[in-house]
C-alpha cells in the first residue's frame, strides 16, 4: 500500500511536504482558513501522518482557493497549494466528494464541456454541475435559484453566451483527453 504522502507527491504535491516544521505561516496568510475544518498547517501534518480519510473528507481541500499565498511564504519550501490540488485530484479519482459536492462536480463538468466543445460554455456548465453534484433535490434547486440573479445580471449586460464557441479540430482535443487518461492509468 502506498502511503498518503507518496500518493500526494505522485499527484504533483512535491517532495518538500516532508520538510514541514509546523510553523503555521501558511495558515496565517490563508484567506479561507477560518472556514476550513482543518487549517492548511494541520492538513500538511495530517498528510505526513497518513490520516487519509480525515484529509480527503475535509472541507479544507475544496475551500482552498489556490491563491498560492501559503506556498510563496513557506520557509521550508512546502508546496501547500500544490498539495491541496493533489488532494483534490485524489478525492475526485476516488469519488470522495461529500464535504462540498458542488466543487468536484463543477471541475468534472468543466472538463466534460471542454471535451464536448473544446471551449467553455457557462449555461451548460452550470446545468451539468447541478446534474452531477451529489446532493438532494432541494439543495440542487436552491443552487439553481441561487445562480439565477447572476444569470439575469449577465444577460442584462449582454455577457451571457447563448451559443457555444466550438473548436473545429475537436478530435485533437479529445485525443488529449484519451492520452491523459492512458498516462494517468499507467501511474
Amino acid at each position: 500500500m502506498k502511503t498518503l504522502v507518496q500518493e500526494v507527491i505522485e499527484a504533483g504535491g512535491g517532495e518538500s511536504i516532508k520538510a514541514c516544521y509546523q510553523c503555521g505561516t501558511c495558515t496565517g496568510g490563508c484567506p479561507t482558513a477560518g472556514e476550513m475544518d482543518y487549517t492548511p498547517r494541520q492538513i500538511i501534518r495530517m498528510v505526513n501522518l497518513g490520516m487519509r480519510d480525515r484529509v480527503l473528507t475535509s472541507s479544507s481541500i475544496w475551500l482552498c482557493a489556490s491563491c498560492y499565498q501559503c506556498q510563496v511564504r513557506c520557509p521550508r519550501g512546502v508546496r501547500i497549494a500544490d498539495v491541496m490540488a493533489a488532494l483534490r485530484s485524489i478525492a475526485i479519482r476516488d469519488g470522495i466528494t461529500a464535504a462540498k459536492p458542488r466543487a468536484p462536480a463543477f471541475y468534472q463538468s468543466f472538463l466534460e464541456n471542454i471535451s464536448a466543445y473544446g471551449r467553455q460554455f457557462e449555461p451548460v456548465l452550470i446545468l451539468r454541475t447541478i446534474a452531477k453534484s451529489r446532493e438532494g433535490v432541494a439543495a440542487k434547486l436552491g443552487f439553481l435559484l441561487g445562480m439565477l440573479p447572476m444569470g439575469v445580471t449577465l444577460l442584462k449586460s449582454r455577457k451571457m453566451p447563448l451559443r457555444a464557441e466550438k473548436v473545429q479540430a475537436i478530435e485533437e482535443v479529445r485525443r488529449l483527453f484519451s492520452n491523459a487518461e492512458r498516462l494517468e492509468a499507467e501511474g
Partner: protein, 297 residues
C-alpha cells in the same frame, strides 16, 4: 516599431469578460502592437485541469502553446489563469521526464512542443515590452483627478508558485500604467489578497466576504474605481457586486479593466472600442468626465 504576439484570449474573454477582450484589442492596436489570434485555440483547463489530474493540466495548454509556436510568436494572454497554465507547461519542459510526458500527451494530434514561444501576461507586455513612456506619449485625454486603487489578485503576482514578472509583495506594473495616463493611484493593502472567485462553487459566501473586504477598503480610501487585469477578479468584484451589496450594504464601486482605463486616456470610443457599457456596476460617471461620447447607441 511593430510588436507581434500570438493572442490567446481564453474562454472568459468570449463570455463574461467580452469588454476585456474588446478593450485589449483596441488599446494594443492604438499602441501599434499586433495581435494574431491563435487559430482554433482550445480551453486551457483553468483550475479544473489541476483538480482532476496532472496529465490533463499539462495536455490542454500544450495544444495551444504548440499552435503558438508554429506561428513563431510569443504568446500574449490577458487572463492570469490562462497565463499561469500556459507558462506551467512551458516551464515543465525544462524537466526531461515532463518533456517526454508532454510529447506523449500530444501523440496523435500532429503537434509538438519545443518551448520556443514565451508566455506573457498582458500587463507584462504593456508595462514591459511597450512601456509606460510610450503609453504616456499616446495619451490624448489625461485622467487627471481620477483616484483609483489597483488590484492584482493571485496569478499575476503568484503564478502557481512560479516567478512573476512583477513583485509578489509590492507589484507595480499596473500602478505605473495608471500613473502614465494621469490617474492618481492610492495606497491599498489588499493588492494581492485573494478575491475568493475560485471558491464560488464550494463557498459563495466566502467569495462575497473576501471581495467585500477589497471593495470596502477601496471605498474607505476614497477610490473612484478599482482597476483589475483578471476576468475572474472582475467577475467577483463587478458582476457579483449587487449580490455582495445584499449581504454587506451599498458599495457602488466601478471596477475597470486596465485596458478600459488606458483606452479612455487614449481617446478611444468608450463603448464601441472599450465596452464600458458592459460592466455591471455603472461606469457612467467616469465616462462622462473623460469622454465626449456619452451615448452607447
Amino acid at each position: 516599431m511593430s510588436q507581434r504576439y500570438a493572442y490567446y484570449p481564453g474562454c472568459s474573454l468570449e463570455a463574461s469578460a467580452v469588454e476585456y477582450d474588446l478593450s485589449t484589442r483596441s488599446v494594443l492596436k492604438a499602441l501599434g502592437v499586433e495581435l494574431e489570434e491563435i487559430p482554433d485555440w482550445s480551453c486551457c483547463g483553468a483550475s479544473a485541469g489541476h483538480a482532476v489530474s496532472k496529465s490533463i493540466a499539462l495536455a490542454l495548454p500544450a495544444r495551444d502553446l504548440a499552435k503558438a509556436e508554429s506561428m513563431g510568436r510569443n504568446v500574449l494572454a490577458p487572463c492570469p489563469a490562462c497565463y499561469k497554465n500556459l507558462r506551467y507547461v512551458r516551464e515543465s519542459l525544462s524537466d526531461e521526464e515532463a518533456r517526454r510526458k508532454v510529447e506523449r500527451l500530444l501523440e496523435g494530434t500532429g503537434l509538438s512542443l519545443s518551448g520556443s514561444s514565451e508566455v506573457r501576461h498582458l500587463l507584462e507586455v504593456l508595462a514591459g515590452d511597450v512601456g509606460a513612456e510610450r503609453i504616456a506619449e499616446a495619451v490624448t485625454v489625461p485622467l487627471e483627478g481620477l483616484k483609483v486603487v489597483t488590484y492584482y489578485g493571485c496569478y499575476i503576482t503568484r503564478p502557481g508558485g512560479m516567478r512573476s514578472f512583477d513583485d509578489p509583495v509590492e507589484p507595480v506594473s499596473m500602478d505605473l500604467l495608471c500613473r502614465a495616463v494621469g490617474a492618481a493611484v492610492l495606497p491599498f493593502t489588499r493588492k494581492t489578497r485573494c478575491c475568493g472567485a475560485p471558491v464560488m462553487m464550494s463557498a459563495p459566501e466566502e467569495m462575497h466576504r473576501l471581495s467585500y473586504e477589497i471593495l470596502q477598503e477601496a471605498k474607505q480610501r476614497g477610490a473612484e474605481a478599482v482597476v483589475v487585469a483578471c476576468p475572474l477578479c472582475h467577475h467577483a468584484l463587478d458582476a457579483a457586486q449587487p449580490e455582495i451589496e445584499k449581504h454587506h450594504g451599498a458599495l457602488s464601486m466601478p471596477v475597470l479593466y486596465i485596458t478600459q482605463l488606458l483606452g479612455l486616456a487614449l481617446g478611444l470610443n468608450p463603448f464601441e472600442e472599450l465596452g464600458l457599457d458592459r460592466n455591471v456596476v455603472s461606469t457612467e460617471g467616469i465616462v462622462k468626465r473623460f469622454s465626449k461620447v456619452t451615448c452607447s447607441r
